[in-house]
């Protein structure tokens, strides 16, 4: 990021992106629909299940495939676990950006438990490629649900620890309160979404407003912030961890038996000329997949609406007028994932 300074105060900030560009959208044009799934993991690699979910739901919309109930519930559990993992990482890196190195270790220790759960279910920790078009790859192993239950039971104590160590710390509050204030109208104009928007007080969560999958069956709240400063963005994400845990508990109770894969043809050929744009509430914001089909078993065009890329466009507006030390706090609080910014 190029910063133009006036003594210690910033006049302009220009993010320079593209250093992690891997050409995933172009690569997807040469792969079949199932082969693209491992590539979607690698965009927002911190919350891989959510990327998978968005993509497979887009393809299912394109080809008109039904997903069985059990697969839907498993998908919700994995997606919310992924959201918890991403927010835990945000807590850790934000604490480290502000200076508390120990605040980096404790959320990572808890994120390890989520990654262990992913390993148990899919074999990989971060780039899971667990979901398939029409369902999920494999059923849950037996030790998954008890381990998940134990993790959810331990989660409130962990969150108390983060609140005690980081959120309640006066030094941290002095660094982040009233820093990087975001006006809700400005946020809407820039197309911001996700926890950044919700921290400014705008009630916009796709899981509530345009429910996809089976999210309309769950009862959860959407935490909102008041001021739109860094502290609010931090607290909103911690509260979202709690709400995700609530969703997982309900999904665990309602989990039915049944097949985990729907009726999918051997070779998937969506109708020619069909196009679809499907959005889900990703961990960083609204994650959208735009797919165009030309009748073959490969997508003709895939475009990803990456929330981090769009949220990053706001940095110039938010950072102007603050000091250099605040830039780090503000940039950290937007929570970008560079894999997503560059794809």
């Amino acid at each position: 990021m190029i910063l133009r300074l006036d003594h210690e105060v910033i006049t302009e900030a220009i993010p320079v992106v593209g250093y992690l560009h891997r050409g995933l959208e172009k690569l997807a044009e040469a792969r079949t629909y199932t082969q693209v799934i491992p590539y979607t993991d690698r965009m927002d690699y911190l919350a891989a299940m959510l990327n998978n979910l968005g993509y497979v739901q887009a393809v299912e919309k394109l080809a008109g495939i039904e997903v069985p109930e059990r697969a839907e519930y498993i998908r919700v559990i994995c997606a919310e676990l992924s959201r918890i993992a991403s927010h835990l990482l945000f807590v850790a890196t934000f604490a480290m950006d502000v200076g508390a190195v120990t605040g980096f270790m404790y959320p990572f220790r808890d994120r390890e438990r989520v990654l262990d759960l992913f390993e148990m279910v899919s074999g990989s920790r971060m780039t899971v490629s667990y979901m398939r078009i029409g369902g999920v790859a494999e059923d849950l192993p037996e030790e998954f649900l008890p381990t998940l239950k134990k993790f959810l039971d331990d989660l409130p104590a962990c969150i108390d620890e983060y609140n005690g160590l980081i959120t309640g710390n006066e030094i941290f509050q002095a660094r982040t309160k009233n820093v990087g204030r975001l006006d809700p109208q400005v946020a809407i104009n820039y197309g911001i979404s996700g926890p950044v928007l919700r921290a400014s007080g705008v009630y916009y969560d796709l899981r509530k407003l345009r429910p996809y999958g089976i999210y309309d069956r769950f009862d959860f709240e959407v935490p909102l912030g008041k001021n739109g400063d860094c502290f609010d963005r931090f607290v909103v994400r911690i509260k979202e961890i709690e709400q995700s845990a609530r969703i997982i508990r309900q999904a665990m109770e309602q989990l039915p038996e049944g097949p985990i894969m729907g009726k999918v043809p051997k070779v998937l050929r969506p109708p020619k000329g069909a196009e679809v744009y499907h959005e889900i509430e990703g961990a960083k914001g609204i994650l959208g997949f735009y797919l165009v089909s030309d009748g073959s078993n490969r997508p003709y065009r895939m475009h990803v609406r990456a929330p981090s890329f769009i949220n990053l466009g706001l940095i110039n507006e938010m950072v102007r007028g603050w000091k250099v030390a605040d830039v780090i706090a503000i940039l950290g609080s937007i929570d970008i994932c560079l894999g997503e910014v560059d794809r």
């Binding site: 792969r31 199932t34 390890e112 074999g123 990989s124 005690g164 160590l165």
Partner: protein, 141 residues
């Protein structure tokens, strides 16, 4: 800056000081791996019918396999996986109908040279020669 927040932070770090450590002393202790772990690969050569579905399923064209027709069946002559391109996604293992390709729990896959990275799972040139000699007009290989 007089406040409970600072003291609470100190309390938490004091407590964590005496807690059990979460790291393990590798390489003396190994991490416990689940059965589905995506490690290295293992091929059951007897079960493999050399259909080539795994090579087609791979997003990165990691698998290179050769086969030769012996009578009615196809036999595998060479099966190499170029691990520098592998995503460890598991699409190949999932696509195998005969359940010949499996994951192992081996994660220490670092090598010293680029040539060593090619994981040779089956190499049977004798089969190819026998097929070519036995058939007269050899096919493939």
């Amino acid at each position: 800056m007089f406040g409970q927040g600072l003291l609470k932070g100190l309390q938490i770090t004091w407590r964590e000081f005496f807690n059990k450590k979460v790291t393990i002393l590798y390489p003396e202790q190994r991490p416990p791996l689940p059965p589905r772990f995506h490690g290295s690969f293992r091929l059951d050569v007897e079960k493999c019918i050399a259909c080539g579905i795994c090579a087609g399923a791979c997003p990165n064209r990691v698998i290179k396999m050769d086969s030769v027709r012996v009578g009615k069946k196809r036999q595998l002559t060479s099966y190499v996986m170029y691990m520098q391109y592998c995503l460890f996604c598991g699409l190949c293992v999932e696509s195998c109908n005969q359940e010949a390709l499996h994951f192992t729990q081996d994660f220490e896959l670092a090598k010293y040279t680029r040539e060593d990275l090619a994981l040779v799972l089956a190499k049977a040139p004798a089969v190819a020669e026998a097929a070519a000699a036995g058939q007269g007009e050899g096919e493939g290989a």
